[in-house]
């Protein structure tokens, strides 16, 4: 596979001059979580349309199969006769069980992204997770929360209209936006407000009065034991006026009215464009996508196909125009390094350490993304996490010094032992890092640089593999000097010192500003 030698962003395929390797690579970066040069070549060989269709054709669905089923809740009798002490123990046990199940699920999902056969499905589920947001922090029900993500994974490629209806009675969502507390006697506006502002039309297309009326229509649902149930007595059956229409609406009626608005197709299509293409797409293109989306009755595959085949998507200016989110950074780094993922729960906790905690988005708007992933701390944290992936246990020993420092400070602050959430999460990451002490990344620097014979070829191969945009000549020169300080005569990949240098250089490439782009 000499492909690694080839500068992807310059090479045009001879068969279809409009479909370059760089575009195939761009498609895999955006539709999924990046790919190896071999995978890029395979997709490229299909031609543009067939490549898009192949990616959008889902593989068989791999459902989450929790290896450790939930602990039995104490029976009614056990609870009835329990002492206060025992009840506290039940609650503690339950909280621990919930935490571990969420941790197992996050690891499962991260592995599907980093290694699974259907990265397109996982990327789309990640989109929906940031769109129809719920957080376990408020839901506090692992079954419901996992169920919601599984819904996105299984049905994400179907219809937005169906998903919107489903999410309105999704047990985790009922809890997250308090719609399970919304009843006729005392409407709770939280869900009604967010469904209009964030899940459908976007702000500016409805009034405060519409929110109040919609809230009345959404009354009556409760979530119990992971199931949503409609309780007639809690539902307000009286007449409502919503967006100029009047009737004895229930929640589904309100959503049908919402789905009938141009603003909805436009808002949702724009969210897809923002996620898959990037900023700066003109409103006329978004309008076209919105019309396609609406005409296909909100079929997601149709929309994605239109996006991936559009000029806006393949424009050279769109390549590298997005910033990798922490989850993308972790998943795509494992893919590009061709690693077996490190043992759990490192991947999910590392992404969290970098600012994106799966199943715990910061608020109902999801992750803001873009430049906000980066600040002075996260740019160094990415470098440090990449070091662990590249160097395995060696990197871990160095990182441990860092984590130990962090823990010492945290402990100084927490002498009375009442650990707060932030400290608990920090400790969890520290433990995940320590667990990698014996982990060998088995990184093969020779393969990654395509068995290059010269330092320049080696660096070019690494940059081809990892960077979505061409590096500056000065960057290449610095890295080349780093792996061959004594010139190319001493550059020999059979030599252990050269291999170590190349391995270090792999890490440095992952630290470059260009690698943070997508």
């Amino acid at each position: 596979m000499g492909l690694a030698h080839v500068a992807l962003w310059t090479l045009a395929c001879t068969a279809d001059p409009d479909w370059t390797l760089a575009e195939a690579r761009h498609l895999l970066d955006r539709a999924g979580f990046g790919a190896t040069p071999q995978e890029i070549a395979r997709i490229h060989a299909l031609g543009r349309e067939a490549a898009v269709d192949a990616l959008l054709d889902p593989g068989s669905f791999v459902a989450f199969d929790d290896p450790s089923p939930p602990a039995d809740d104490p029976s009614f009798l056990e609870r009835a006769f329990a002492t206060e002490e025992e009840r506290r123990a039940f609650r503690r046990e339950r909280a621990r069980d919930e935490r571990l199940r969420i941790e197992r699920y996050r690891d499962f999902w991260m592995r599907e992204m980093a290694q699974g056969d259907d990265p397109v499905r996982e990327k789309l589920a990640l989109f929906w997770h940031g769109f129809f947001t719920s957080s376990q922090r408020d839901v506090r029900d692992a079954d419901a929360m996992i169920g919601q993500i599984e819904r996105f994974r299984e049905h994400g490629m179907t219809s937005y209209a169906d998903l919107l209806h489903a999410i309105a009675t999704d047990p985790a969502m009922l809890k997250y936006l308090n719609n399970d507390k919304n009843r006729k006697q005392h409407p709770n506006e939280n869900f009604a407000r967010e469904v209009l502002e964030l899940f459908s039309m976007g702000p500016g297309h409805y009034t405060e009065a519409d929110i109040k009326e919609a809230a009345r229509a959404f009354t009556g649902w409760v979530a119990k034991d992971g199931e949503a149930t409609f309780v007639k007595a809690r539902h307000d059956r009286a007449e409502k006026t919503f967006l100029g229409k009047t009737g004895k609406f229930d929640g589904a009626d309100v959503l049908d009215i919402v789905l009938d608005q141009d603003a909805t197709a436009r808002f949702v299509a724009a969210k897809f464009v923002e996620f898959y293409v990037g900023p700066g797409v003109d409103t006329a293109s978004i309008e076209t996508f919105a019309r396609t989306f609406r005409a296909a009755r909100y079929d997601v595959r149709t929309l994605l196909r239109a996006i991936f085949l559009s000029d806006a998507f393949s424009a050279p200016s769109a390549q590298g125009a997005l910033f990798k989110s922490p989850v993308e950074f972790m998943a795509s780094t494992v893919r590009r390094l061709e690693l077996d993922p490190p043992p759990p729960p490192f991947l999910a906790l590392a992404a969290e350490h970098l600012g994106q905690s799966l199943l715990f988005p910061p608020n109902v708007k999801g992750w803001e993304g873009g430049e906000t992933w980066f600040n002075t701390a996260s740019i160094l944290n990415r470098a440090n996490v990449a070091r662990i992936l590249v160097h395995g246990s060696v990197g871990v020993r160095e990182a441990e010094a860092m984590v130990d420092d962090a823990m010492r400070v945290a402990q100084d602050d927490a002498e009375d032992g009442a650990a707060n959430e932030a400290k608990r999460r920090n400790d969890a990451f520290a433990r995940a890092v320590k667990r990698l002490r014996r982990w060998d990344s088995k990184l093969d620097p020779v393969a990654l640089c395509g068995s290059a014979r010269t330092s320049n070829a080696a660096i070019r191969a690494l940059c081809d593999r990892f960077l979505p945009v061409a590096p500056y000549a000065s960057t290449v020169a610095e890295l080349q000097w780093f792996i061959a300080p004594h010139g190319d005569d001493a550059f020999d990949l059979n030599d252990e010192e050269t291999r170590d240098r190349v391995r270090d250089a792999v890490h440095l490439v992952l630290c470059l500003p260009e690698y943070q782009l997508n």
Partner: protein, 401 residues
């Protein structure tokens, strides 16, 4: 993000910067001498919509107890301020500061045509403008640009926490941000660090995204050692409780005491969106708030630094006067802000919104434009010109000594 490309940096990075200058900054992290009186502003965001009505409680008004039902706090529970209002019982820490003369409450804070979306209302607060993000920059970024136009120092604006709020975005100066000071470092061998520093800095960058990332890296290299050392060397004079906010405030104290050049800090405490179970959640949140600020203020007083520090607490909106059926309150309008520090005169400022003259949503009407709070911090406190930062004149509150 459609913030304008910042021209000064753009010219620097594309034209004149020599690799050696950048590397020198990265290697030694030298901050220029402090260009000011040493006064510091700490903006503390209570995210989610703090229920001001249950913080500074108008217990003497029957309308309060009627509207709040089971959430109403009784005069016996409250920490009495005067014949009309008292503080939430969890706020013993703030009551002590109030009694010591260093805490001003501002009632009825808000803006015309209140927005009840967290994000859009917080955008208004962060932008310091009624049109929110459309202005393109946050008010703290503009403030720091105004105070230190010609100072190239990444440490002037520091945001603690995992994310940088919009208030710090879009200016020439960018915020240094970190969650845990001890983690704030690059782990790498010496020659790797050197190669990386050169590979990142030794080139001209014109593309916006790459320039943004390059700068984040160089700022991080220049500030991380300074920050870590200040925090590691710090011996506080008061015992901080165990909470995330206390930990952040301890870091702020460490940077001030350690002589780091930061003029504006941005801190966040989340969880105030109390749609349900408000009683217990507010008890916990307000205790964390009051206890942490009490430790911070005591620490600064002992170090004779309290006169240099002004803390401003705010939230994107207050909450509805009537409780909902979930033991909580929904999004409201006018809210409560506070100013705390050695330079503050205790008292009640702004004007109390009338409980019997609510708006159409049943929310408190604002009496005091939130930009008057900002103007107080900009002008009388930091010696800047509020008109430049806010784009229009707002009368400062008379709550500084």
């Amino acid at each position: 993000m459609d913030a304008p490309i910042d021209r000064r940096r753009f010219l620097q990075t594309t034209a004149a910067v020599t690799a050696s200058a950048v590397c020198a900054r990265a290697a030694f992290g030298h901050a220029p001498p402090r260009p000011d009186s040493g006064r510091v502003l700490v903006m503390l965001e209570l995210a989610g919509g703090n229920d001001g009505l249950n913080v500074l409680v108008p217990y003497a008004h029957d309308a309060y107890a009627e509207a709040r039902g089971s959430l109403a706090l009784t005069s016996q529970e409250l920490l009495r301020i005067d014949d009309e209002v008292g503080l939430h019982p969890a706020l013993t820490g703030l009551k002590a500061i109030h009694d010591a003369g260093a805490l001003a409450w501002v009632e009825g804070v808000g803006y015309p045509e209140p927005i009840r979306s967290h994000f859009l209302s917080m955008d208004v607060w962060h932008a310091g403008r009624l049109d929110g993000r459309r202005g393109g920059s946050g008010w703290l970024a503009r403030l720091v640009d105004h105070l230190a136009a010609d100072v190239d120092d990444p440490n002037l604006l520091v945001a603690l926490g995992a994310r940088v709020p919009f208030s710090c975005d879009g200016g020439e100066h960018r915020a240094v941000a970190f969650a845990k000071p001890a983690d704030y470092r690059l782990v790498a061998a010496g020659d790797e660090t050197k190669t990386l520093d050169s590979a990142v800095s030794s080139t001209q960058v014109s593309e916006r995204a790459r320039a943004f990332l390059r700068r984040a890296y160089l700022d991080a290299r220049a500030s991380s050692d300074v920050v870590r050392k200040a925090v590691a060397d710090y011996v506080p004079s008061a015992k901080y409780p165990s909470s995330a906010l206390a930990s952040d405030l301890r870091t702020v104290a460490a940077l001030i005491a350690g002589g780091v050049s930061t003029r504006v800090f941005s801190l966040q405490l989340g969880g105030f969106d109390t749609h349900n179970g408000q009683r217990a959640r507010q008890q916990r949140l307000l205790a964390e708030l009051g206890d942490a600020l009490h430790a911070f203020h005591s620490d600064l007083e002992a170090a004779r630094l309290a006169d240099r520090v002004l803390v401003v607490g705010y939230s994107e909106f207050g909450r509805r006067v009537a409780a909902n059926a979930s033991g909580g309150t929904d999004h409201g309008a006018a809210g409560l802000a506070f100013l705390l520090g050695g330079g503050v005169k205790s008292g009640l400022y702004g004007a109390r919104p009338a409980l019997d003259r609510l708006d159409d949503n049943g929310d408190l009407k604002f009496t005091t434009d939130f930009r008057r709070v900002y103007a107080t911090a900009i002008g009388p406190w930091l010696g800047g010109d509020a008109r430049v930062v806010l784009g229009e004149a707002h009368e400062p509150l008379r709550c500084l000594a």
